[in-house]
Each structure stands twice: as structure tokens, then as C-alpha cells.
Symmetry: none
Subunit: 249 residues, 2 copies
């Protein structure tokens, strides 16, 4: 009997958002399986399932048929501890940015703790990820390339990432569990941000010169950059619970 294929990287999921060409989904599944990745999440894929996707998947139709179709990016990120967004270009704002090599090291560190999961998000073909989607990311990952023409096909970008991750893991990890702390999950962080906004509203922090959307984006970026541990989030929530609304004189 042929043994079941052994997928090595069970803690890493690839998330494709608003993919418009089903062929790219099939090609992504094939790229992933070649590099021992198997967890594919599809947020609002256009024209999927499709014969084109299956054809392009070649022998990776198992990755395709196990793909999880979601209605929102948030849904695809449930239970994830580190969220990485792939971006073709450097953004002029304050995400934590790194190239694919360093991003793969971060993933390796995070998944050293067996229960911790990582998502790597790839945006829609023409325009990549929106700012709202990027707001959910802790790290923005760029793939180095030609400065004068950078237009990687989305499945090619997934291929490069998957290859780089495979290669990195082949070179062994020095990290051991004892130096790692439990990171807060995506859900815990979202719930903390909701609480944070409520308190900032209570203390009447937002005003015209301090627009809520902008400020919250800055604060989220700050916290995601720090990659808070579970305990740290608990400390901040304790502080928030102690802040009572006050009346202006």
C-alpha cells in the first residue's frame, strides 16, 4: 500500500484573497505540494471550483480538494498566531517589513512551538492586498526582484515563498522551545483592540485632530510589530479594565 504523503509544514497556511483566475489557484496548490505545504485557504475565489484550477494543480488535486473556502479574511485567520502579508512593494507606512528570507525565519521561530500557526496571505492578482487587509498583518513580506519590473504572478510568488521556506527548514533550526513564549492569537488580539477602542472612546481620546481610523491603524501596527505574548495582552487588558470613564468638569 502506498503510504500517505507526509506534509511536513502543518502549521503554515497559505491564504489567497479574492483570486480572480482559478488557474492561479491550481498552480498555487501544485507549487505548495512540491514544497511540502498543504493548507490552502481561499477567500472569495472567483469562478472556483473550476476545471482550469484542477488541470493546473496537476497531481496536487488533494491540496486543492482540501482547500478551505472562506467568506472573509478574518475567517481564514482564525486560530493563527502570526499573520504575514505578501506585498510586491514597500509600503510607505509603518508595518514591520522584511524580505521572504527573513519572513521564513520568523515563521520557523513561531512554529517551533507546535501549537502555533502561521498564515501567509497573497492578495488579488491585479492590485495585491488592500490596506484593510494589510491591517490584519503583523509582518509585510516582500520578495526581492527586478526594481524596474516587479510583477510576480501570484502562484509564482507562492512558489518562491514555498521554496524559500523548504530550503530554510532543510538547514535545520537552532531554536528550542524553552526560549519561546506563547504568542497571543489573532482572535485574542482582535478582542483586545475592540476593548482598547472602547476605552479610548470612554476617555474621549479621539477628536478631529486625532481621527479614530488613523490612530487605531497606528496602534495596531505598533502592537503587531511587538508580537505580543498572551500574558502581555492580559496585562494591557488589566490596565484597560482599570480605566474608568470620567466627566469633563
Amino acid at each position: 500500500m502506498k503510504k500517505e504523503i507526509d506534509y511536513t509544514f502543518d502549521n503554515v497556511r497559505v491564504v489567497m484573497v479574492n483570486t480572480t483566475e482559478p488557474g492561479n489557484i491550481g498552480a498555487a496548490a501544485r507549487a505548495m505540494k512540491n514544497m511540502s505545504l498543504s493548507h490552502l485557504y481561499l477567500v472569495n475565489p472567483k469562478g472556483y471550483p473550476s476545471a482550469t484550477a484542477t488541470a493546473r494543480a496537476s497531481g496536487a488535486d488533494d491540496v486543492l480538494s482540501n482547500a478551505v473556502v472562506c467568506e472573509s479574511l478574518e475567517e481564514a485567520l482564525q486560530g493563527v498566531h502570526l499573520v504575514i502579508g505578501a506585498s510586491a512593494r514597500q509600503r510607505n507606512i509603518k508595518w514591520r517589513q522584511m524580505d521572504v528570507v527573513d519572513a521564513c525565519s520568523e515563521i520557523q521561530k513561531t512554529t517551533t512551538l507546535e501549537s502555533q500557526k502561521v498564515a501567509v496571505i497573497f492578495g488579488t492578482e491585479k492590485s495585491g492586498m488592500t490596506n484593510e487587509e494589510l491591517d490584519l498583518c503583523q509582518i509585510l513580506m516582500t520578495i526581492p526582484g527586478n526594481r524596474d519590473y516587479f510583477s510576480l504572478n501570484v502562484a509564482s510568488a507562492i512558489q518562491v515563498f514555498a521554496y524559500q521556506y523548504f530550503i530554510l527548514n532543510g538547514q535545520g533550526s537552532f531554536l528550542n522551545e524553552s526560549c519561546l513564549f506563547k504568542k497571543a492569537s489573532f482572535d485574542e488580539l482582535e478582542s483586545f483592540y475592540t476593548h482598547f477602542v472602547q476605552v479610548l472612546e470612554h476617555i474621549e481620546y479621539f477628536e478631529d485632530k486625532r481621527p479614530k481610523v488613523l490612530l487605531m491603524r497606528r496602534l495596531r501596527r505598533f502592537f503587531t510589530r511587538a508580537e505580543p505574548e498572551k500574558e502581555e495582552v492580559a496585562i494591557f487588558r488589566g490596565i484597560l479594565r482599570n480605566i474608568k470613564p470620567f466627566k469633563k468638569p
Copy 2:
């Protein structure tokens, strides 16, 4: 005037042999251009030129239109100093074999002398290179991957090679100064911590179960890890200023 695209790796040519799917030729052109490769040679391509190839090439149609179509592999190798053949599997015979990382180092060494050219050959989709084609190669290059399923699409293999070569040549980093922000100074952070302690005392946050020394150490560690920018410290101080002490009922 927009400057001409500067292709860095002029000494390296990619040779595709007996390619049966024109779409793969287009995808290969795109993969190459993204990584600053531009010299594509096509030995007996099937159904080429083709609209499918052009569509898949996306903005890399210049690489495609400059592609050299040859009738034999020997013709495509004229003037080349080092011939490398890509192979999905280790061969049971005595070629010099190495993985894509080491092969890229070899290419780099060879092309240090400006006049020396290298060809990297990719065989037909279903079966790869024949033994006769491999006989023309000095090095056999393999791409690491899943042992239980290794079936890289030919354009994906070219993508991985092109990426690895780009990375090796150290054009890795995208980061430029405009993406860097002013970090808060030591003094600014100390002054922020002093303010933070005052506010936590005002809101009566510290108690026996929440010892001040320990909690402040944890909070400092959190902020240190985030490496706050000047602006972010200003935001937090703005929040602190809005928190007024309250009286317990």
C-alpha cells in the same frame, strides 16, 4: 524620460527544450524578467509563437519577443562556457550534481569574467531532459522539494532558479531610507515610562497581586521589543494625558 530597463544578468541564458505548452513559455519570460534575467532560448517550442504565451508573459513581452528560437540544443548553446541542466531527480550516472543554491554559486563564479556565458537548460514538461541532452551538460542542477511529490511546473522551476540567482547576487534588499522611521530616543522612552507609572498609580492599577516592579519590567520589555518610533511614543503620551484619576465610589 523613463530609463531603459537594466537587465543585470546578461551572461546567463535560460534554454527551454521541446516545450509543449506555450503558456509555460510566457510564464517563464515573466518569471525571468521579475528576477532581472532576459535571455530566453527556445529549442523546438510547440505551437509557438502563441497568444497564450503572450498573455501569460504579462509585461514581459519584450523578453518573449527577443527570445531566440533554435532548431537544436547545440545551436542554443553556442558561445556558452558553462552548461547546466535542470533535473527533477537525481540521476544514476556520473554527472556533476548539485542543488540550485550551489549551481547559482557556480554560475556566479563563471560569470565573474565578463565574457563568460552560462546556459541553464529546462527540459520538456512531461519527461524533462533526455540522456542525450544531459550529455551536453557539465552540471546537473536539482531543486530541493517534497520527496513524495516532486513535479514542478517548468515555469515554476525557472522561477525558483531565477529567484535563487537574484538572491545570491545580493540584490536582495528592497529597503531604502524612506521606509525607515525615527525611533524614539532613550530619554524619550524613560520619560514615557515615568509618565506611564504615574498614570497607572492614578488609576490604582498596582496592587498586591500586581506588583509595580514586576509589571513595569514586563511593560518595559514589551515596549523595548517593539522599538517604538518617536511618533508612536507621542501617541501613547497623548492617551496617558487623557486618562484622569477617578475616585472609587
